[in-house]
Structure formats: structure tokens, C-alpha cells
């Protein structure tokens, strides 16, 4: 099996690579590439993302044909794709970080700044927070409800159809911290930095 981590200059992806390699050992081949053919022929794709919504969308668009290759993989061929952090946020129609920017539009919704309630909540939302699993999702196999995950973000994905939300976390409001729509998965938290529980989620995704 081939799992491809999309390398599109979206910031620091070493931790994502290390965690997938740790879980995959020698059983699964982990590719790190922006090669369109490799992405299309892969069994699973991981879309990381750090920095701002706009910088990630721009970086995706900077590689000619990449958005189309990802759409073919996830939308037409319905193969499993995992978006992490801004990788998840880009599923939305639109994001408001820096400036209004069009997302991939795979899951209807918008990405807005977390309401800090006039400074009551520090931003970015940094650190370990518990997740409330609200939907039976395959990536949560053997993951206990209220497990701790590592978060770093100031913006949140607000999907139109709430049934795509698979877990929420409490920070100012109930933030959608993971989504699942058919073959498309996304986590706002960083499984690659969430210790053993995070590695288990990665393992679950690889085993899908």
C-alpha cells in the first residue's frame, strides 16, 4: 500500500512524515511528494497544512494541476484522504484568514476566527484539549472519548451540514475538531503531535 503525504510547501511537515513512518514501519510505503501521477495512483493521501488558510491555498494553486489531482483522488475516485489542521480547513468553500480566500469546496462551510470573547480565551488555541466524539468514525477505532489531542490554531471550520462533524472540542464554543464525509477525513488537531493516541489515529487511517 502507498500512502502519499502531499508536499506543497505548506510549512513544516517533518513531524507528519516522522509520525506516519513510525506507524507504517516497513509495512506501508510512505511517499512525500507533489507529483501528480503519484498522488493519483496512491491508495491514501494525507494533506497537511500549516500557516494561514490563504498561504496554504496559494501554495496548492502554485503547483499546476495539484488541486485537480486531489479532486480526482478524493471526489471522483472516492479514495481516503486525511486533511490535518489547515489541510482540513481547506475542505471548506471559503476562509477568512488574512483575506477572503476560496477553499476546495469539498465540504460546504466556512473557516472563521475563533471568538475569543473579548480576550477571555487566548489565541492561538495552543495545547492539549479533550475531544468529544459525536460520530462513529473509523479513525476513532479504539480511541476513548475525551482523549487529549494537541491543537494549534486560531481559526475554526464551521461546516454547514453538522452531520459531517465527528468530534468537537470546547474552546470558547464547541469547535468542530474532526470531520468525516464519506472517504474524506480531517482533524483540526495534530495527530502527529498527540503522542500515542495520535499515532493510533494515524494507524486507523492507514488501516482504512
Amino acid at each position: 500500500m502507498n500512502v502519499t503525504i502531499v508536499d506543497y510547501n505548506s510549512g513544516n511537515i517533518s513531524s507528519v512524515i516522522n509520525s506516519f513512518e513510525e506507524v507504517a514501519k516497513d509495512k506501508v510505503n510512505i511517499e512525500v511528494t507533489s507529483d501528480l501521477n503519484k498522488i493519483k495512483s496512491s491508495d491514501k493521501v494525507v494533506l497537511p497544512g500549516q500557516g494561514s488558510f490563504k498561504s496554504c491555498v496559494d501554495a496548492l494553486n502554485n503547483i499546476s494541476g495539484l488541486v485537480d489531482a486531489l479532486s480526482e483522488f478524493a471526489i471522483n475516485n472516492k479514495k481516503p484522504l486525511l486533511g490535518i489542521c489547515v489541510g482540513l480547513q481547506m475542505f471548506a468553500d471559503i476562509g477568512y484568514e488574512e483575506t477572503e480566500t476560496k477553499g476546495l469546496g469539498w465540504i460546504s462551510g466556512k473557516v472563521s476566527k475563533i471568538d475569543n470573547q473579548n480576550g477571555k480565551y487566548k489565541l492561538p488555541h495552543i495545547g492539549w484539549n479533550q475531544i468529544n466524539i459525536v460520530k462513529d468514525s473509523k479513525i476513532y477505532n479504539d480511541i476513548q472519548n475525551n482523549s487529549h489531542m494537541y491543537f494549534v490554531h486560531s481559526y475554526e471550520f464551521i461546516p454547514e451540514d453538522k452531520s459531517v462533524i465527528s468530534a468537537t472540542t470546547d474552546y470558547s464554543s464547541k469547535i468542530a475538531c474532526s470531520v468525516e464525509k464519506d472517504n474524506i477525513f480531517g482533524t483540526q488537531f495534530h495527530p502527529e503531535k498527540s503522542d500515542k493516541t495520535g499515532l493510533k489515529i494515524i494507524d486507523n487511517f492507514i488501516k482504512l
Partner: protein, 251 residues
């Protein structure tokens, strides 16, 4: 609910831990990778390396340490010490650091913070503020506490937030190494002034100091070095103690 973080810090010099955990079962007590792994297995919420390598020819040793650690520890790794420019930050991130802390370079050229937070995202830019009390205010020191800049620490903290710092690591130079506790007044003043998380550092001698840093200093995270060294306290003990005092921690 978001938990308060406990961050053990390891001083690394020429690729070796200077002060470290003195456990009998350690194969190599000076190996930062092995020490970091003990901390992360013990429940550390993040790991911090402070590179105190003095000579330029040995500066590259930290990259190897970071690379090896990031393959074994799957909690966030912050690396600081001697970070001069965007290229240094880029190299550390590529080696597997999740955050880079900038100290002297941010004072000398705040544009480094602006530029790097734009390039890599605020989430990985930590500005380290070394402050010392002077009359009724605090002043910024650079070069590991040797140079007084005369800059007001509270105003500087605000400026660094505006420049794009995702977190502030605030160390009291008066308290560092004394084990008498954090400078609570400094922590709470900065924490109330900025909206980004503050990591308290400098002066921890016992577990109550960690409690004070969070409860009185309003820090989001507490960093400590020596109390975790030589097995005085484990990270697990620290967390259980904080939990018993009603502080939300990841256990």
C-alpha cells in the same frame, strides 16, 4: 477544556545534555534524545531544547539532535538558543522542530519575527523574553542574560505579539537558577497584556511554584529544568500535584 502544559527543558551543549535526569537505567545520561524520550513517555506536554553551544563550529550539532528526537518523540518539540535568522528557523523546522524560540535576534531585529511568522505561521514562532527587574519595571536582557538593552519588557511583549509571535516564553533573569519560584508579578503583567499564551520560566524549585505560575501568574504553560533533573520530581508527579490543586492537566 484546554489543559495547562508542563514543559521540561533540557540544556544542550555541543549535542550533549548539560544537566539531565540522573536515572540509573539510562544508557547514556548525556544523550538528549534519550532524555527527551523519558520526558515524553512520562507525560510531558512538550519538550524544549535550549542550545547553549558557544562555539560556532559546533552549532550544527543541534540539528542532528532535533532530527533524532523528532523521530522518537511525538509531542511538540521547541528548540531555542542561538537562532539568528529565518534560515536558522527553516533548518530547525526541517529537522523536525515544531516550534522555534527566538531571543536575542528578535530584540536586535524584530523583523525576524514578522518575516518568520508570515513564512512559517505564528504557531511555530515563540519569542523568548529574558527580563530583569529594574526599579518598578522590567528590562530585556539578551545574549543569555549578559546584555541589558534597557527595553521595557511589558511593552516589548506586546510588540512581539503584534509582530506575529504565537507564544511568549518569559524568563525572569532574577529568578533563573535560584529555585525560589517564578516572578509572578512579571508573568501576570505580561499575560494580562497580551492575548497569546505565556509560558512561565525561571526559578522553579518545587511543585508549588508550578501551581503559582499558573494560578497567580496566569501562565498557560510552565517550563522547568532543574526540578526534573536528577529525578527530584518526575513530570508525572508534577501533573498529579497540579491536578490535586484543581489545575486542569493532561493525565
Amino acid at each position: 477544556m484546554l489543559k495547562n502544559r508542563i514543559i521540561p527543558c533540557l540544556d544542550v551543549k555541543n549535542g550533549r545534555v548539560v544537566k539531565g535526569i540522573n536515572f540509573v537505567d539510562l544508557q547514556d545520561a548525556g544523550d538528549p534524545v534519550e532524555q527527551a524520550k523519558i520526558y515524553s513517555d512520562g507525560g510531558a506536554d512538550e519538550i524544549c531544547f535550549l542550545d547553549i553551544t558557544a562555539s560556532n563550529e559546533n552549532r550544527d550539532t543541534i540539528y542532528d539532535v532535533v532530527e533524532k528526537t523528532s523521530r522518537k518523540c511525538f509531542v511538540p518539540l521547541t528548540v531555542g538558543g542561538g537562532v539568528r535568522n529565518v534560515e536558522d528557523i527553516n533548518k530547525l523546522l526541517n529537522c523536525g522542530a515544531d516550534k522555534v524560540s527566538i531571543n536575542t535576534a528578535a530584540v536586535q531585529n524584530p523583523e525576524v519575527v514578522v518575516e518568520s511568522s508570515k513564512k512559517f505561521g505564528s504557531q511555530c514562532i515563540v519569542v523568548a523574553i529574558d527580563a530583569k527587574k529594574s526599579g518598578d519595571k522590567w528590562e530585556i536582557f539578551t545574549h543569555g542574560g549578559r546584555n541589558n538593552t534597557g527595553i521595557d519588557a511589558i511593552e516589548y511583549a506586546k510588540k512581539m505579539e503584534d509582530s506575529g509571535a504565537g507564544e511568549l516564553l518569559v524568563t525572569s533573569m532574577d529568578r533563573d537558577g535560584t529555585q525560589v519560584g517564578y516572578d509572578i508579578e512579571l508573568m501576570s503583567k505580561i499575560s494580562s497584556m497580551v492575548n497569546v499564551p505565556v509560558i512561565a520560566s525561571g526559578g522553579v524549585g518545587n511543585l508549588d511554584h508550578l501551581v503559582d505560575g499558573i494560578k497567580l501568574g496566569n501562565a498557560s504553560a510552565v517550563l522547568a529544568a532543574s526540578i526534573f533533573h536528577y529525578g527530584k520530581h518526575s513530570v508525572k508527579e508534577a501533573k498529579e500535584y497540579l491536578d490535586s490543586k484543581g489545575i486542569p492537566v493532561r493525565i
